[in-house]
């Protein structure tokens, strides 16, 4: 199969993957809390319902921005699997995230605006890591594309255990999990109401949710990069990491943005940077 087909498959299947993941997440979370929980397909029902609901827009610019956010999120995955340069992919990913910030900031509401500001903080917390991670992956595999990394004879995770650990830490931000869910959380019970999405309704919220499903699939693809010998192994690693995220989500409270920044940068610098330094020192 050509990379183009992979890209197309990502665009088509990632929402199914992300939605099912969210469904499993909700059931597992509920069980950890001693609840029965919703049916597996509940996220799909939710998005279907959101699409049917009347949409109220504070600022008409929000909708094109959110469609672009969804589009870029899908494009990030498509570009990754389609064989584009890894570092370029990370920049497209950052752009996708930025569009959500712009959409939230466009609503003239204090909660939404404060959510947008906090999302900028978490972007600041996570983006350096993703760039560093891709640099590291490119360095150890001497390849710069998804296919190239998968074809490499080096098992990335063995070379980059620090990067793997830091990835699990930083992915918490992207998966909107406690303790790092400061700008938006899965349930709207926080000091910023629903943060970023406070002023989004109906299909706008559905776009955000769909984009999040793409994002989950994208993070899974990143994990596959780290376990480049075998795709099933990468999926398994992602499942383990995700289960860990859910457990931590159910065992911590939300922390404040200062600590989010400090802990993710500490993870990036110590784990990721230390790992790279070690490789450098060992002369590879």
């Amino acid at each position: 199969m050509t990379p183009a087909i992979y890209a197309l498959l990502f665009v088509l299947l990632a929402p199914v993957f992300g939605g099912l993941l969210a469904g499993i997440d909700r059931i597992v979370s509920a069980r950890m809390q001693g609840r029965v929980g919703p049916p597996l397909l509940q996220p799909f029902y939710d998005v279907g319902k959101l699409l049917q609901k009347r949409t109220r827009q504070i600022n008409p610019i929000a909708e094109p921005l959110l469609i672009a956010h969804l589009g870029y999120m899908a494009a990030t995955g498509a570009l990754l699997l389609g064989g584009t340069d890894l570092i370029f992919t990370v920049f497209v990913y950052a752009l996708a995230a930025l569009l959500l910030v712009l959409a939230a900031g466009s609503a003239n509401s204090p909660f939404s605006f404060a959510g947008a500001e906090r999302e900028l903080v978490v972007l600041l917390a996570s983006e350096p890591f993703f760039i560093l991670m891709m640099v590291a992956v490119c360095k150890v595999t001497a390849a710069s594309t998804f296919g190239g990394v998968l074809a490499s004879s080096q098992l990335v995770a063995v070379q980059l255990p620090g990067v793997l650990l830091a990835f699990v830490v930083v992915a918490t931000i992207k998966l909107r999990k406690s303790p790092f869910d400061i700008s938006i959380s899965h349930h709207p019970h926080q000091e910023l109401v629903s943060g970023l999405t406070s002023d989004m309704s109906g299909r706008l919220l559905a776009y955000v949710e769909l984009a999040h499903w793409y994002e989950s699939a994208l993070l899974c693809a990143f994990m596959v990069l780290l376990f480049n010998w075998s795709v099933p192994l990468g999926l398994l690693a992602f499942a383990v990491a995700y289960a860990l995220e859910v457990l931590v989500d159910n065992a911590t409270s939300r922390i404040k943005w200062q600590l989010v920044l400090r802990s993710t940068w500490a993870a990036t610098l110590l784990l990721c940077g230390g790992n790279l330094l070690a490789l450098f020192v060992m002369g590879r």
Partner: protein, 141 residues
């Protein structure tokens, strides 16, 4: 900050994961009510003598009673199930059911302005007392 890797909730979360959930799938699965629970007021029109005590004492003004019309009505959505009416009823026409009342919705409101949850009774006047009524009248009946 304390040791960030010591998360005391983890054992509990894991234990929950493998044990039975504490919730049930309401409303398909219901818990039985305890005996003596205050659910809803049940009225028996047959024994009522329309003394109006219940209507007068009801703190929520949920009961309407008229001696002349021999009518009795309760607004179940206004009723606070405190049980005062049951206590003051001399004829034991009122009782408290442990089962909660029906769920009423706004859709029940009729165009004539009747509130959902309003339940009404009318008791026809008793037949004339046969011992004092003229015999002929009784015969024609």
């Amino acid at each position: 900050m304390a040791n960030p890797f010591r998360l005391p909730m983890v054992p509990r979360a894991l234990r929950n994961l493998v044990s039975r959930p504490a919730t049930r799938l309401y409303p398909t699965e219901l818990r039985p009510r305890f005996a003596g629970a205050r659910g809803a007021i049940v009225f028996d029109v047959e024994s009522c003598n329309f003394c109006m005590l219940c209507a007068r004492r009801c703190p929520a003004a949920a009961i309407e009673c008229s001696r002349e019309d021999r009518s009795w009505a309760i607004d179940q959505l206004t009723c606070i199930a405190c049980g005062v009416c049951v206590e003051v009823c001399n004829k034991k026409s009122l009782s408290m059911s442990a089962e909660p009342g029906r769920v009423h919705t706004r859709a029940e409101a009729t165009p004539d302005g009747r509130r959902p949850g309003r339940e009404e009774w009318l008791k026809p006047a008793p037949p004339p007392d046969l011992t004092t009524a003229p015999v002929s009248a009784a015969a024609t009946d």
